[in-house]
């Protein structure tokens, strides 16, 4: 019963917090451009060398092409293989990749557990999902655990990382390591692939079925309870940290680095900018001449400095 309630609450907190952080960023006003090239949606040819529509004569008279395929071709290697870390921080890459890929596999396992619980573990399809979930769990936990330990060592002993390591960074890694370790402990104690009460995936399936059916009578092995408990605690904690980048990274790329949308007359963007230009700043330096009553438009268009003596 307690585990079920904790799960509902943790998931709720996780979703609300992530949604809050997402909306908090999404609701900031239209901002100035801060694009950084290459911008992959410029298309495969231009993205290869970092070109933009500014390379075309009278660019504003030409249709704007946005290639989602090219964008995806940049995103997938980044998400799956951490291409950026590989290119710029090779000594950290393996540990970081193992850590992230381990997490991906753990999440994939959770998705498969939910799918197989809904499909019915005893069906042929459910059995296949159970097998894949089992493999995802063992590989994911091992890789994730190795990645965590490696990153911990790097953070504690690497001269490049150490001065920037905070107690919080160590705590985060240990927390995630605890998820992998408790998962591995559960695997070591009960059969991984067996459906039903005697297997880890089976127990997780029963647990998920209990959650969806509001049934808290399922008997779960103590090590599995520990694993679920640590995972839930992490779900509650994580959105409050920098690790929320797993979702907010969408903005750093799509809203900033790759945001090259030109401002066109009569557009929604122009409307949004006009709203922002009517904010009333209070910057205190003399040359700004803000008084809290003047808008950005007033301040930027008034004649300034000409009255000052040289």
């Amino acid at each position: 019963m307690i585990l079920n309630i904790a799960t509902y609450l943790s998931m709720l907190i996780f979703l609300i917090t992530v949604l809050y952080r997402f909306l908090r960023i999404a609701n900031t006003p239209a901002h100035l451009r801060w694009d950084l090239y290459p911008v992959p949606h410029e298309g495969f040819k231009k993205a290869k060398y970092g070109g933009s529509y500014y390379e075309e004569l009278d660019w504003w008279t030409k249709p704007r092409h946005v290639s989602k395929a090219s964008e995806l071709s940049a995103m997938i290697p980044e998400i799956i293989l951490l291409k950026g870390v590989w290119e710029s921080n090779k000594s950290l890459w393996f540990w970081s990749w193992a850590f992230h890929f381990g997490l991906y596999l753990a999440i994939f396992m959770a998705v498969l557990v939910i799918a197989s619980a809904i499909a019915g573990p005893v069906t042929a399809f459910g059995a296949v999902l159970t097998k894949i979930a089992g493999f995802s769990a063992i590989i994911g936990y091992l890789l994730g655990g190795i990645g965590c330990v490696g990153m911990l060592f790097k953070r504690l002993f690497d001269s490049k990382l150490k001065p920037y390591t905070t107690p919080g960074s160590i705590f985060n890694l240990i927390f995630i390591l605890a998820i992998f370790v408790t998962g591995l402990k559960a695997i070591s104690e009960i059969n991984l692939f067996t459906t039903g009460q005697s297997g880890l995936i089976g127990q997780l399936q029963i647990f998920v079925s209990g959650l969806t059916g509001f049934d808290s009578t399922a008997e779960i092995n103590r090590s599995v309870i520990w694993h679920i408990g640590v995972t839930l605690a992490f779900m509650v904690y994580m959105p409050f940290t920098h690790m929320a980048h797993f979702v907010l990274k969408w903005f750093t790329y799509h809203s900033i680095r790759w945001n090259d949308e030109p401002n066109k007359a009569g557009s929604k963007l122009e409307e949004d900018i006009t709203k922002s230009l009517n904010f009333k700043p209070t910057w205190a330096a003399d040359h700004i001449r803000a008084d809290g009553k003047k808008t950005w438009v007033d301040i930027a268009t008034e004649e300034v400095f000409k009255d000052e003596k040289k």
Partner: protein
Amino acid sequence: MKKNKLKIKDISKNSEQLAHVDLQDLTPLPPPYDKIEDEPVWKELKPEYKEEFECTLDDTVAVGVPKPKTPEEEKVLVDKFVSGLEKLFQKENNWTFLQQLMLTLDHCAKSQTCVDACPVYEASGNNDLYRPTYRSEIWRRIVKKYVQKKPLASFTDGDIDLNWRTVARLIELSYRCTICRRCAQTCPIGVDNALVTHELRKVFSQEMGIAAKEIHEKGSVLQLKVGSSTGMNSEVVKDNIEFIDEDMSDITGLEVKSHWDVEGADVLLIHNAGEIIAWPENPGAFAIILEAAGISWTLSSEAVAYDGINYGLWYDDVQLARVAIKHAQAAKKLGVKKIVVGECGHAHKALTVIADRVLTGELNVPRESAMTLLEDIVFSGKIKFDPSRNNFPVTLHDPCNMVRLMGIVEPQRRILRYLCPQFREMTPHGVHNYCCGGGSGFAIMSPNNFQNWRIAVSGRKKFKQTLDAFSDCPGPETKKYLCAPCSNCKGQIRDIFQYYDAKEKSNLIYGGLVELIVNAMIDVKEGFISWEDTF
């Protein structure tokens, strides 16, 4: 004094000097520039200056913050700083960069993936003070602890003390980054250290009224006051251009005529007015090309509009908006079809990209780069060229603002490949280029011994890259040309070449793109580019 192993919290300590640049640590240059004993000796800061101004960051001073004389003055400095930081996170005050800043504040994983991308950090021999993350981390910790007052901030984000020394050093430290954004390019999460530099400079300027004199008082303020940061008013600039036209006519054998205030012209050309003073052959070459191609073009004699610079880009959103609006108003008044920005990288980005979300309604006059117009002209067949006139080794510097931050990469290259038989690329190039070291205003800043720093440290990587590009012909017997289609970059490169005597030792000169185009024009007398007349 510490060379390395600098800790984040050291920024607040009452130490004599936080870091030291040892010439022995700098990355080596190729021969004949490889002897440390031949490196120019840095000017020492005068003791009386040190007495009056905060000089405890490193061996140089860019801004020169007066030391507070009383505890009250110390408190004012800190309070104003915190007040400015608070405003950075208010949409009324910082709608311009609020989203970018919130994301950069909260999502750095501290992986240090970005650090090796920084040419200043690398050239300094990995001096911890110049790590691109050093300044960001200090800022992040201050914001979490003193602005957001986050519980357990010291545990989760790391501890920091905020006192007047922290603020004074941060002011200086915000002028040790060229805002080239090469580090941001490598961040897998999209966190941006250069943005932190930019926003810190904004706090200092917009809230505290503190900025580097050259970019504020002698820069954007002077531009808005008299029309140009060069000090030229409308009449003077017209006289100078007339003189340049005459000079160009003599040199080329063509009748060169620049046009002023032509209503309804197709193109309003805006130069960085520094070109008119320092490199008159550049606006002259533009006039030659546009006339030869039969382009309907004009210059504007409106105050501010004859100078394309917009230093606000580096430190102050309000100053940026004021100048950009003046540029657009001049174009609107003349009724031109488009503004074309001359060879100036930051003017490109300020007016084309950043001001794109400042200029609304009728002020949103189309704006484009001179690179695309020049490419169109060169390949249009309107002008006949003899590329053999440019048969000397040429390499290209990519101005960060135009290339990494705007994606204008190929037009200038297509011209060089066509007109310069010995064109060769630097490594790396294009959007992965290295900054000239003069970015974010450094090129025009030489207070105290700051020029030593900006050349020997921040410009070092570019100088090395340039020399490496000519490694097959390093000696003075071969004339070599570094093409830098940006006024600020040229200013920095001029100073680097003079500092290391590169003309003498390597027969290396620099210039813009238009000079190479004119040099190859069949209708122009040979020898437009001269190795004798430079410097």
